[in-house]
Every structure is written in C-alpha cells, then in structure tokens.
Symmetry: C2
Subunit: 236 residues, 2 copies
DNA sequence: GCCTGTTTGAAACAAGCGTTTGAACGAGGC
DNA sequence: GCCTCGTTCAAACGCTTGTTTCAAACAGGC
C-alpha cells in the first residue's frame, strides 16, 4: 500500500492523453501503461478493465476546467458586459484545459462522434448550467424571443467559440498555421463578442466596430441606410 | 470478372459507414465485409490493405457533396442575397450528404481530431474554394477589413453552420431531442443568415428582425438607444 | 522477526485482428 | 472442349490485443 492513488492518477492522466490521441479502440492498455510508467496489470488491478478506465478518465476530464462561479459573481454589469465575459471565459476554458493540446476537450470531441453514457453526465453537470446562464443573458436582451429563437441564439454564440477547438485543424489549413497560432484568445473573444452584440443590436455593426471611432461614420456606401449614429458604444 | 467495380463500390460504401461509426481502429475489415456482403479477402484483393481502403473511402466521400457551382452562378444578387444562399447551401451540404447520418461528414469530423494526409486534399479541393468565395462576399461588404478580420468573419459564418453537425448530440441534449429534430434546415439557415447580416449592418438587429414589422419600434427599453429606424428590411 | 493484506512485476492466456493462401469459379478466345 | 485470366471463397497464418495468473515486494501491527 505504497502509492495506490499515485499510480491511479498517473494511469488516468496517461490514459486521457492516449485516448484523446488515438481513440478508445486505437489506444492500447500497453501504450497507456508505458506512458504512465506502471505495469500493465495495474490497469486491471485498479480499474477492472479498459472500459471502466475510460469512464474514470471522462469523469476526471470533466473536473479539469474552471469551476462554475456563483450567480452573484456571474450576473454583474450590463447584459453586454456579461456576454463579453461569458464568451471570453468559455473560449479560454475550451482551448487550454489540461494542456497537452487540451486532451479533455479532444476527448469531448470524440464523445460527440460516438457518445457514451458519460456524455449525459458531462452535459448535465458542466454544459447545461453554463448554457442556461447564456440563455438568461439572451432573454434579458431579447425578452420577446420564444424558446426556439433563444436556443438558436445561444447556439450562435457558443458555436463561434467551439469552432476554434473543433475545427482548428481546418482553420489552420485555410488561413495558414502561422496566422492561426498568432490569433490570441483575447482577439478571438473580442471578435465574437462584438459580432454577437452587433447582431443583437447592443453595439454598432461589425465593419464599423472594427475601425476607430472617427472612421465609423465614413463608410463607402455598401449597406447604406443602416443606422450607426451612436458610434459603437455599448448601451445600458 | 463478373462485377469487380460493384464489389469495390459496395466495399467503399460499407467501409465509409463503418469507419464513420467506429473509427479506423474500431472498424474491422470483417465487419466491413459483412456489411458489404462480400468475402473478407476482397478487401486485400481490391485495395491491398485496410489503410489504402480508408484512403479510397475518404476520396470517395469528398465527391459525395454538391458540386461547386460556377462563379457566374454564385455571385448573383446583392451581397446579402449571396450570403443567404451560401449559408443555406452550405448547411444543406453539411447535414444530409450520403444520408445514413451523413457518414462522409462524420468521417470528416474524425479527420479533424486525427488528421491524415487526405485532409489536406479535401481542404484544398472542396473547402478552400468555398471559403474563398465566402471571403469574397465578406470583402465587398467590409472593404476596410484586413485579412485577419475577414478570416474571423468567415469563421463566424461557417462556425454557426458547422455547429449543427459537429455538436448535434450536445445540442439535442440541451434543448431536447424533439425540438432539435423539429429544427428545419430552412429555419436554421434563416436564423444564421439574419444573425450574420445584422452583425454586418446589412439588416436590422436580431431581436427586432425576429418579430413582425409592426412590433419593431415598440421594444421594452432594454438596449435603448440602438437605432432600428429602417424596420428590418434588407439594404442594397 | 514474523505474519497479514495490499500492491507490483514478468509471463502467459485465449480471442480477435489484418493478412495470406490456394483452390474453386465463371466468362471469353481459339 | 479446353485453356486463360480475373475474381471469389473458406480456411489458415502470425501477431497484437485485453485479460489473467502467481510469485515477489512492500508497509504496518504484534
């Protein structure tokens, strides 16, 4: 009884990376054991079999992100400010969890293709609370919208964030590895936030918002007629 | 020499579904052969080995979607109309290709997690041409935007479409299987298009656009100060 | 120091994998 | 009719997989 918990922890960490990298079927308990630096039999001794190891890995991955802040901490400032904060923390949480190319989120992507029972748990305990809060923000902005519309609005917000995780390899091939790596979380968050706020009418439209305040009224004629009298400042 | 091409085609179709469902490592050439209704040895005879079968499947998947229309056919109407058409055809192409839960797109999702050399080919021949056209539309709308901004704008558009494929299982768990299935491609496309157009200043903001024209000026005070004098009609 | 229960180690297990084999099959040319 | 060539088939081949085994190593209680 020297270091049972240490062996278990090493196995879960190694298995997380292996499963994320090669998938459940592709990863072997031999390669996992080697990566963890423990004996093959340890998997069977501590977890029973490969499948139960995978379950434990998913449960562990679930708790790797930032913990949910309290409602009082979350709903401060204007809806626009809340949305900005939501987007930035969501984005940050997506990209850099656990590092090693964020294996908990990669595992999540695999669950989206081939869901197991663990996905329901993660959605219930991690994803839905955050999504409900987003819906609350959106409802204060669009009190007339029905459920379907609110849901699609919520999807519009999260989809733009999730994209930079799920489609990263394609984005890199489209705009080049260099430019893709040079995009900071702050820059992306700022873009997504101003896009959503502009769509919701809480900020000036995008082509104007991207410029300095002095240039906002000097557009070249495309989309003429749209009002942008307030120069991109946030309301409320 | 009875039906060699037929056997190859059956194998590729069956392998596509199996690889999409279980991944490269998870699918066995035995299960593929059974699904195709051919002998196991046919895989080795026609393709050499499992890996080269996978390559052929990806190449075949690539040509399953709608073919690229000509520039003359694509760039008709106002930029707003072009964007609407792009979004709807892109969305339609994403969701219902090849049916059987769109295995070519599912295979693509697996490539995003574990890219092979085939991904570069697909990006070069299928994805980049479409993305470049989207950028062209966006550039006519935002002539002042630099490359980085245009790229992020493009990502904002495609991400909202891609979401309904990549994150479908989570979306279904969030809003319920019933509501998720009831969302039509037309409805989603309309939502995404009006979101993007509103963000770009080519349409009225979303909360207004979702209502009838007579209700647009009677909002309840949230986000007061935003201009919506033109009542949601499209410009240009 | 010895016993007890827990944890590790190297080796072996059956099962399933991708792949190969060699015979059988069937259509066309002579 | 017979030979040839491309294709299919059932069976077998190694090899790797997940899993099990059993002896050795270990800390703590007496």
């Amino acid at each position: 009884m020297i270091c049972m918990d240490e062996t278990k922890a090493k196995l879960i960490a190694a298995a997380g990376e292996e499963f994320a990298l090669k998938g459940f079927a592709g990863a072997t308990i031999r390669s996992i054991s080697v990566r963890a630096g423990v004996n093959i039999a340890a998997v069977n001794y501590h977890f029973g079999d490969k499948e139960r190891l995978y379950e434990q890995v998913l449960l562990a991955a679930q708790h790797q992100g930032e913990p949910l802040v309290s409602d009082d901490e979350f709903f401060v400032g204007t809806p626009a400010e809340q949305l900005r904060r939501f987007i930035e923390s969501f984005l940050r949480n997506l990209v850099q969890v656990g590092c090693e190319e964020s294996w908990p989120r990669t595992l999540m992507m695999r669950e989206m293709i081939q869901p197991t029972a663990a996905l329901d748990v993660v959605v219930r305990e991690e994803i839905r609370p955050r999504f409900d809060r987003l819906l609350t923000i959106l409802q204060t902005v669009c009190p007339e919208a029905d459920h379907r519309r609110l849901h699609m609005l919520g999807f519009s917000v999260v989809s733009q964030c999730v994209f930079y995780k799920t489609c990263k390899v394609i984005a890199a091939r489209l705009i080049g590895e260099a430019e893709c790596r040079s995009l900071t979380i702050e820059e992306i968050a700022e873009h997504i936030a101003s896009t959503c706020l502009a769509a919701l009418g809480l900020a000036a439209p995008l082509d104007a918002a991207g410029l300095g305040p002095n240039e906002i009224t000097t557009r070249t004629g495309k989309a003429a007629g749209t009002c942008r009298s307030d120069g991109g400042s946030l309301e409320q």
